[in-house]
Amino acid sequence: MHKSGTENPQVTVIKPQSGWQVINFRELSEYKDLFLFLVWRDIKILYAQTILGFAWATLNPLLQIIIFTFVFGRVARVQTDGIPYVLFSTVAIIPWTYMSEAMIQSSQSLVQGQQMLGKVYFPRLLFPITPVLARLVDFGISILILLLVVVYYRVVPTWNLMLFPLFFVSMVGISAGVGMWLSAMAIRFRDVKFAMQFIVRMLMYSAPIVYSASSIPKTYRVIYSVNPIVGVIEGLRSCLLGRPVPWEYVWPGMVTALLVLITGALYFKRMERIFVDVI
C-alpha cells in the first residue's frame, strides 16, 4: 500500500488574493522541470515541418541586414560614425530581432496558452518567460552571422567585451518586463495583439539600429536614452566593436529597464488571479 505523503506534507491555502503580490521564487524553482520542457516545446514547434528548420533563425536577420545596408547604407547614406554599414547594422539587428520576437510572442503567450491556462495549474509567470528564453536559441544561432561579419572586418576586441554580459542581461530583462506587462494586458484586451505590430515597427526606429545615436541633437539625448533599447543597442555595438561605451546613452535606459522589469512582474502577479476568468 502506497504510503501517501510524509510527516510534513505540503500545505496549500486557497483564498481570494487581493492587492500586490511578490513573486514566489520557491514555487518557481519547484516547477523548473516543467519550465524547461515548455521552453523546449516552444523551440521545437516553431520550425516544425519546415525544410530549412533552424536556418530560418539566421535568414530573417540576414535579409534585413542586406536590405538595410542597401537602403540606408548606400541610397540614404546614413552617417554611422565611420563604421562600415554592414557591421553597423549587424550588431544591432541581431539583438533587435531577438527582442522583437521575444516581446511579440511573450505578449501573446497567455492568449495562445488559454487551453492550458484553464485546465491545469502551474505558475502563470512561466507563460511570458518561456518565449523570452526560447528565442535565445535563435539568437545564439544568428550570432554566427555576427561572428562572420566581425571576423571579416577584422575587428579587434578590447576589454569592453567583458561588458557583454551586462548588456545581454539587459536585453533579456527588457524583453521579459515588456512581455509580462503586455501578456497580462492582452488577456483582457485583445487590442494588444493589433497594437503590437505597429508598436514594434515604431520601436525599431526609436533605437539606433539603422542610424547612429550621435545623430540625435545633444539636448534630446537624455530623453532619447530613457528608451532602454537605446542603451542596449549602443552598449552592444560598442563592446562588440571595441569602441568606448557611450555611458550617457546607457545609464538612463538601465534605470528604465529595471523599472519595467519590476513593475511588469508586480502587475502580472496582481492580475494573475483573474486571468482564467476573463480569457
Binding site: K15, R41, F122
Partner: protein
C-alpha cells in the same frame, strides 16, 4: 499528538462570474452614433467589470444591494471536509458548480470569498491531453503532458515504458500526434494521467471519452488508484462509475451542496430531482406548454382497474391514463395523444387516438378522455407523460410534463424474475423453445 488526517478542508467558498447581457439596440441614428463614439470607454468598463464585483456587495450603509442582473454565483457557501484516503464522488446537473469547485481546488481560479486548506500535493485531471501539441511526437507529448501534470523528469523516464504500454500506441510513439486518430490520442493522454502518483487526485469527467473497451480499462485503472490510499475527488455524470469507485458522494445543485453521504442514496436523490414535481391535479399553470388553447388539459392522472387514482401503477396490470380538459368551443376531428418517457429521457411508447383510424368530436365545455392499457409494459422506474391534442387546424394544447408516476415491482411475467431496467426499456411478452436432436421443449412467459 493528534495527527490531522484532513486532506481537504473547504470553508464557505463562493464564486461569482459576470455573464454577457443583450446589447442595447437604439431606434435613433443619433444615439447609435453616440454609442459608437463612446464604445471604447464602454468596452473598457465592460472588460474591467469581468473581474470586479464591487457593485454586487452591500453598499456603503451595509444594506444588501440588489444583485447586479448579469452576475451569477457558480458556487455559494460550499463547505466540506475530506479525510486522507477518502474517495468522494461529486454529482449534479450541468451548471451545478462541480467544475468550478474543482478549478478552485486546483488553484486554476480564485474563490470570490471563503477559503480552503489542502494537505498534500494535488494533481488535477480536468482534461485529457492538456498541452498536447500536434506537431510533437507521441514520445515528446508524453514527456510534456507528464511534466504539465506535475511529474519530474526522472519519474517520467522511469515510467515511460509503462505509460506507452498501457496506451497501446508503441508502434506510433515517434510519429507526430497530428497523425493519430482521436482514439489513439485519448488513449495516450489517459495513459499518462493513469500513471500519476499524486497524494490528492481531482478528476473531472474524463472518463467520458473513448470507446467502451477503453472506458472499461480506465475504470479498472481508476479503481487501482483509489485502492492505494489516495484521496480522490471524482466528478462524473456516469452514475455507474460513481457507484463503482466512490463509497461516498456529494450532490451539488445551483452552486450549493444539497446532499452528502453513501453514494447510492445521493444518486437516488439526484435522479429524483431531475423530474421536477408537477401538480397533475391542476395543470392550468403548468410551465411548459404550447398550442393555441382552444382546448386545454386541466388534469392528468393514472387509474387502476378499480377506478382509484394512483401514481404507482403495477407493471403488467391494466391501467387507464385519464386526461381532463376543457374545450372553449366545439371542435371536430380532435386527436388526443401522449408519450411516456423514462428516467433517461427516452420515449418508451406513444399512444394516440390516430392509431385507431378514428378521431373524436368534442363539444364545448369540460370533458375527459381515457386511454386504456390492458397490460402496462413498463419495468420498475420513474416515468413522465407528456400529453397533446391536435385538430385539423393545428396544435390545440401540448404539455411537456402532465404527470409523473413510479411503476411498482411487477408480476408482468407471472414468475418472480424481472429483467433489470438497464436492459429493458419496455417489457414484451415472449416464449421460448429448445430444439435439440432428442426433443422439443417449450417455455412460455406471462400466461
Amino acid at each position: 499528538m493528534k495527527t490531522d488526517d484532513t486532506a481537504i478542508k473547504v470553508e464557505n467558498i463562493s464564486k461569482c462570474y459576470r455573464i454577457g447581457l443583450k446589447e442595447k439596440i437604439h431606434d435613433s441614428f443619433g444615439r447609435t452614433i453616440i454609442d459608437f463614439i463612446k464604445a471604447p470607454l464602454d468596452n473598457y468598463r465592460k472588460y474591467r467589470s469581468l473581474y470586479n464585483f464591487d457593485d454586487t456587495g452591500p453598499d456603503s450603509d451595509g444594506h444588501p444591494r440588489p444583485g447586479a442582473c448579469d452576475v451569477i454565483w457558480a458556487l455559494r457557501d460550499v463547505s466540506m471536509e475530506v479525510k486522507r484516503g477518502q474517495v468522494i464522488g461529486i454529482i449534479g446537473r450541468n451548471g451545478a458548480g462541480k467544475s468550478t469547485l474543482l478549478k478552485i481546488l486546483s488553484r486554476i481560479t480564485d474563490p470570490t470569498t471563503g477559503w480552503a486548506r489542502i494537505r498534500g500535493k494535488v494533481s488535477s485531471l480536468l482534461e485529457v491531453g492538456t498541452g498536447f501539441h500536434p506537431e510533437l511526437t507521441g514520445r515528446e507529448n508524453v514527456y510534456l503532458n507528464s511534466a504539465i501534470l506535475g511529474m519530474k523528469k526522472k519519474v517520467i523516464d522511469r515510467k515511460f515504458d509503462q505509460i506507452v504500454g498501457f496506451s497501446g500506441v508503441e508502434k506510433f510513439i515517434d510519429t507526430p500526434v497530428k497523425r493519430y486518430s482521436s482514439g489513439m490520442k485519448v488513449r495516450l493522454a489517459f495513459s499518462v494521467a493513469a500513471h500519476l502518483e499524486p497524494e490528492i487526485l481531482v478528476i473531472d469527467e474524463v472518463l467520458a471519452v473513448g470507446d467502451a473497451e477503453f472506458q472499461n480499462k480506465c475504470l479498472g485503472k481508476m479503481h487501482n488508484i483509489t485502492q492505494r490510499g489516495r484521496t480522490v475527488l471524482f466528478v462524473s455524470h456516469n452514475m455507474g462509475a460513481i457507484i463503482q469507485l466512490c463509497p461516498t458522494s456529494i450532490l451539488l445543485e445551483d452552486g450549493g451542496i444539497v446532499a452528502g453521504g453513501p453514494s447510492k442514496e445521493v444518486i437516488d436523490q439526484y435522479l429524483s430531482s431531475i423530474f421536477r414535481p408537477v401538480d397533475s391535479a391542476d395543470l392550468r399553470n403548468t410551465p411548459i406548454r404550447d398550442g393555441d388553447g382552444r382546448l386545454q388539459f386541466t388534469a392528468a392522472c393514472l387509474q387502476q382497474e378499480n377506478g382509484v387514482n394512483t401514481n404507482m401503477p403495477v407493471s403488467g396490470r391494466p391501467v387507464d391514463i385519464v386526461l381532463d380538459f376543457v374545450s372553449h368551443r366545439p371542435l371536430s376531428r380532435v386527436q388526443f395523444k401522449f408519450t411516456i418517457f423514462n428516467q433517461m429521457g427516452i420515449a418508451v411508447t406513444h399512444c394516440s387516438v390516430e392509431s385507431s383510424g378514428q378521431s373524436f368530436n368534442v363539444p364545448r365545455g369540460q370533458g375527459q378522455v381515457i386511454c386504456h392499457i390492458p397490460k402496462l409494459p413498463l419495468p420498475l422506474g420513474q416515468y413522465k407523460i407528456s400529453a397533446a391534442a391536435y385538430d385539423d387546424r393545428g396544435k390545440l394544447d401540448w404539455i411537456a410534463t402532465a404527470c409523473i408516476f413510479n411503476v411498482q415491482a411487477s408480476n408482468f411475467f407471472k414468475a418472480p424474475f424481472v429483467p433489470p431496467i438497464r436492459y429493458s426499456t419496455a417489457l414484451v411478452e415472449h416464449s421460448w423453445q429448445l430444439m435439440t436432436d432428442g426433443c422439443k421443449q417449450k417455455a412460455v412467459c406471462g400466461q
